[in-house]
């Protein structure tokens, strides 16, 4: 009963907050609602026994990415953006496409066949701790993708510096 209650609260809050994110006129308000949304998603991850994922959700998404968004929103001068209508004139078509996709996906959900259960049951993760189990897998089986991820971050750093740099007039 408590499970359902918690899940119901989180599901309701996540849906309402994501609707608020896409409908607000002021981008700063959107970013603030998104911050709250990310905290709720982190709560949902805790609920699914993924402590480390919840932690990096808060640290990376809420801490790093949203601060970056906020910086950019504040750097841009969006005064005249605020004066015009926030939706395109054909927003009903967008709503229709999204609704159709939603119906298609929800219909597909019922038809999935569950595979055999793996060895990381709740008790196994609890006895080993989630971070240790994840780290072991990441540094043995997924070592090469992990190194590629570091390369992606390096490319992102260099790319961001090159793109945002002001060009010198020659």
């Amino acid at each position: 009963m408590l499970h359902q209650l918690f899940f119901g609260y989180y599901a309701f809050a996540i849906i309402v907050l994501s609707l608020l994110v896409v409908t607000r006129k002021n981008p700063v308000h959107s970013v603030m609602w998104m911050l709250l949304l990310f905290f709720h998603i982190a709560g949902l991850y805790l609920f699914l026994n993924a402590e480390f994922i919840a932690a990096i959700q808060v640290i990376v998404y809420a801490g790093a990415i949203l601060v970056l968004f906020l910086f950019v929103v504040l750097l841009l001068n969006l005064r005249e953006e605020m004066a015009i209508k926030q939706f395109v004139s054909s927003w009903k078509a967008g709503l229709f496409i999204a609704g159709l996709l939603f119906v298609a996906v929800v219909n597909a959900i019922g038809s999935h066949v569950k595979g055999p259960a793996g060895k990381y049951s709740v008790e196994a993760i609890r006895s080993e701790t989630h971070v240790k189990a994840l780290g072991k897998l990441l540094y043995t089986e997924y070592l090469f993708p992990f190194e590629i991820a570091s390369l992606i971050l390096l490319v992102a750093v260099i790319g961001a510096v090159v793109l945002a740099k002001r060009r010198l007039r020659s």
């Binding site: 896409v22 993924a50 395109v88 967008g94 999204a98 959900i109 992102a156």
Partner: protein, 100 residues
């Protein structure tokens, strides 16, 4: 226990709200945030599948998705800054140089 299908419906709903936002908003920052919303919906799906199938691979994939999302946010916001510097607007309808 909450059934797995409820988690899947929840993430599908969040994903479709992201799709709706991307299709109907014309502010480039909000469109970018809609993409982040869709990425988060997929992360939720992966974590819930991972939990219900007692497997860790979904968490690994979420880890990589968050890495790529961070890289994408840095690059994308740099592009937005460069665009704004040239066009003085964040409205994507004004950006039509590449249109034939």
């Amino acid at each position: 226990m909450v059934d797995l299908n409820w988690y899947l419906v929840l993430s599908a709903a969040v994903f479709m709200i992201g799709v709706f936002g991307f299709l109907t908003r014309r502010n480039i920052i909000i469109m970018f945030m809609s993409i982040e919303l869709m990425l988060n919906a997929v992360n939720m799906t992966l974590v819930s599948f991972s939990h219900y199938m007692q497997d860790m691979r979904g968490h690994i994939l979420v880890f990589f998705i968050i890495t790529v999302a961070a890289a994408e946010a840095a690059i994308g916001l740099a592009i937005i800054l460069a665009l704004f510097r040239n066009k003085q607007t964040a409205h994507v309808d004004e950006m039509n140089e590449m249109k034939g």
